[in-house]
Symmetry: C2
Subunit: 208 residues, 2 copies
């Protein structure tokens, strides 16, 4: 089995632009990518491919293979799956709370497919035992779409229920989760720039 | 062991006021409360107490005991814990994605305390084996506070990692999770009023 991480550094994470500059966002996604790679390695996954439309920011990547594909995310991933010939776990690059324990549990599923829902109907990770029989369709409510695709193609599916694996970092409020529950370089980067402000209701992020 | 659910119907869930009227919010919290009670019963919990500052909306409650306490949430809960004399699980009333499987796992913890983090640093559920030795402090980043309280009083703590048990319904975007992952009366109520709009990025809520 192998892992694939879709990744794009250039102008990444535009929804974080209210709180981080472009340069900061690019630094931050690189830290998150490295953390996800380390997590996959810790979980014992031997082959890790980064699927990117550009080599930008990946020039010195030695921890994982870099595969270039300029197509749209879905097209590139579906081409990858078609050629995979072994089980594949697709892991998003913005999951700094994902642990090797999560990964081990996800790939131990007894079902054909294991999906990790993110907030707002997203798909944070997707483990596919027979990748040539499955196609992905990210964007929108991809969680529901990916469940339907499994059903339509007669593949059983497990929903992996985890708050931490389910936390993708897209919007400023997601950084709160990283500060509260995170560790490692991505958290350190954010905790140098922001602190949590406590008030009634949920915790908010303020600049240091 | 027993369960306690803090609950207030009057003008509940003010942060949902951009999308639901006061009357709707009051109807909705009642549906969520009933779902949480059913979940606890399904998990085999015999004694279920509702802790409320008022009997409003609880006049005909037969599925659980109603305890009145007009004090602040923390004061009322700490008084409850002091008198409990057996393990207590505190469960918030706004957790329509909580299942009996979650509850069974939470109360099976080998640690002294088991905490279920919600989004934004909240505490969605808290299982306490020795309630007279523990005090709660909700509001703000109660997750971190509750972890510290366990540590300071020499009690071990487990963090229960679940996206669904971790989904409390406070803000309009939380209703998206209910529509995608939920079932039962609370989901039905919301799905009569809203539908999901798919677009790039996360799914959004729109009026029907």
């Amino acid at each position: 089995m192998k892992a694939v991480i879709p990744y794009k550094k250039a102008s990444a994470k535009s929804r974080l632009s209210p709180v981080l500059t472009r340069e900061e966002r690019e630094e931050f996604v690189e830290l998150m990518l490295n953390q996800v790679i380390d997590t996959l390695k810790e979980a014992g996954i031997g082959t890790i491919d980064i699927l990117s439309p550009s080599t930008y920011g990946l020039e010195n990547m030695t921890k994982a293979n870099v595969l270039l594909d300029k197509s749209d995310l879905n097209e590139a991933l579906n081409r990858y799956l078609k050629q995979a010939e072994e089980p594949v776990i697709i892991v998003m690059a913005d999951l700094p709370l994902l642990s090797s324990k999560h990964v081990k549990e996800i790939i131990s599923t007894k079902k054909d497919v294991c999906i990790v829902p993110g907030k707002g109907g997203g798909t944070n990770s997707l483990f596919i035992k027979n990748p040539s029989r499955y196609t992905v369709r990210y964007y929108g409510s991809s969680f529901l779409t990916h469940c339907s695709i499994a059903e339509e193609t007669g593949q059983s599916i497990e929903v992996y229920d985890s708050l931490f694996a389910g936390t993708d970092i897209d919007e400023p409020e997601d950084l709160v989760e990283l500060l509260i529950h995170g560790s490692g370089a991505a958290k350190d980067y954010i905790s140098k720039k922001f602190r949590l402000e406590m008030s009634r209701g949920r915790v908010r992020l303020v600049y240091i």
